[in-house]
Subunit: 323 residues, 2 copies
């Protein structure tokens, strides 16, 4: 790094200087844990596994599909890219320990943008004590961020297929905020600030994943596509029906404000909004539901997801390649 340290594009700095800057930015956030036997810089990272297993998940974020540079900062995007992956581990009842990050970006991307992204990734990972242990950097036409996260479970992982009729369904974390934020941004507004921030930087209830597993959760998933859509995945995999009681949701004030401004029912954000990465889990009885979780429905015989016994007709969430 020379005098151009703070400025310049990836092309101007070149691959190795960029990687050095990324590694330095991440190193300022957190010193690698003792189980990182070999960190970034070799052909692969080497990680000590004390639990006898690893839990692994991978996700991609694509520019103008999952994010718009005009709507977020690189730092917040890094937070979000990490969060959506860390939430997948929480949804197994586990805790994330390591991440690898692949970044494809145009040559004219500012180095500062990439360094902020790296800092956001490292800071979100640090929330759960996880290290970024490797990655890849390459040129592309549009920005693609590929995150793989590794973790472990203190007890048996909680899958999507264990819900049984009679179970209660409960939710941890915010729900509908990110969707309300996206609705606001899509129409060219920047407020209410709280929902815009929620879209830019989800705050998954990471610690509630292991808490739910400890409490005997029979099935769990994180809400990425939408509450009803993700409950649909869980119901399908478990071979059950789920009914959601819409009366339990206290729709928060900012969502009311967005609903009023846009002329839509704010409950829609709660029921169909994704990307808050809250957790929904099923428990055998109401007594098992941990503190801080909201009971939102029940599991029954059959299939599909209903709201107060009715099938909703509006789109149930995000899918790729849908017209």
């Amino acid at each position: 790094m020379d005098a151009a340290h703070e400025g310049g594009t990836l092309a101007e700095h070149g691959e190795f200087a960029v990687i050095e800057a990324i590694t330095a930015a991440m190193g300022e956030v957190r010193r690698p844990g003792a189980d990182v036997l070999v960190g970034p810089g070799d052909d692969a990272a080497v990680l000590r596994v004390r639990t006898g297993h690893v839990v692994v998940s991978s996700d991609l974020l694509v520019e103008d599909r999952h994010f718009r540079k005009a709507w977020t900062t690189a730092y917040d995007l890094g937070r979000r890219a990490a969060a959506q992956n860390l939430a997948d581990i929480a949804a197994m009842g586990g805790t994330a320990t390591w991440l690898t990050v692949g970044l494809a970006a145009p040559a004219d991307t500012p180095l500062a943008w990439v360094r902020d992204l790296a800092r956001g990734l490292a800071e979100e990972a640090a929330l759960v004590g996880a290290d970024v242990v490797g990655g890849d950097l390459t040129e592309s036409g549009e920005i693609v961020i590929a995150v793989t996260v590794l973790g472990s479970c203190a007890q048996s992982p909680v899958l999507r297929d264990g819900a049984r009729p009679g179970d209660v369904v409960a939710l941890a974390g915010r729900q509908g905020w990110a969707a309300a934020g996206l609705a606001v941004l899509s129409r060219g507004f920047r407020s209410p600030r709280t929902v815009v921030e929620a879209h830019r930087r989800p705050a998954p209830p990471y610690d509630q994943g292991p808490v739910a597993a400890q409490a005997g959760a029979t099935a769990m998933i994180d809400v990425s596509d939408g509450l009803l859509a993700d409950l649909g995945h869980l119901a399908r995999d478990s071979g059950v029906a789920i009914d959601v009681d819409p009366g339990v949701f206290e729709v928060p004030e900012p969502l009311h404000a967005v609903g009023a401004a846009l002329g839509v029912d704010p409950l829609g954000f709660v029921l169909t909004g994704g990307e808050d990465h809250g957790l929904v889990a099923c428990f055998e009885s109401a007594a098992d539901v941990p503190q801080g979780w909201l009971r939102i429905g029940t599991v029954g015989e059959g299939e599909g997801v209903t709201v107060a016994g009715e099938t909703r007709s509006e789109p149930g969430g995000w899918t790729h390649f849908s017209s």
Copy 2:
């Protein structure tokens, strides 16, 4: 999958049908090993680790940077995407066990293309007994393939920083073939077939990674950027100089043919070509060099890489964001 099974685009089939087709294609290649406790389809995969550690590496392949659809089949691209990642584990002295694959692709990509890619990935992984245990699928403007590979080492991993003056340098696997193939394709030719095939589908000497580790290799790297370039990485990390003896290489006939046709010295393909994903390793003595490895040079005091004592002036290999 309906009557459109064999045809149609990702958009026409939709996300879930595409994932089903990918999973089915991979399932035909290999039944998951017993250590895959939870495979694709949940929030994360769960993998039994018997060795107390995992070795992890991630790579991206970007359309029109790392591959051109016109120059390869989806099947071969899958083979190559897996191979370059599996080679990273071999270069640690390890064996790959699991992969996750993220695919970003335009909505008009044919389903058959994606299924062939998945089959190629799974078949290359099966060569070393590795399973594809998860991934992600999303829409993008250009194709990006993000592979993360996990593995383990039967003994201490072989890093890049252990070479010492007096060591001998040895090579396993083909070298220069992929570069010759790329040179041919870049000029609009399709032959010699052997080098074009070598570019499309590298054949890393996976089993020689653990063999070298067992034989006491002091440092190792796979040749992805170019022989001299990757030896440069190894020399820098080890704090040593490396001299390559160009006289040891028997330049194979197809490389001679390409050199003659293009008016270049075919030894250039051997010395600076990348992407064959052979392995170069250092050993304390010639007696340690395993059978099948070619002694190509020596480690000395100092820094940098020379060929017969001379610094070469031509570009030393592939870097991203270079002008």
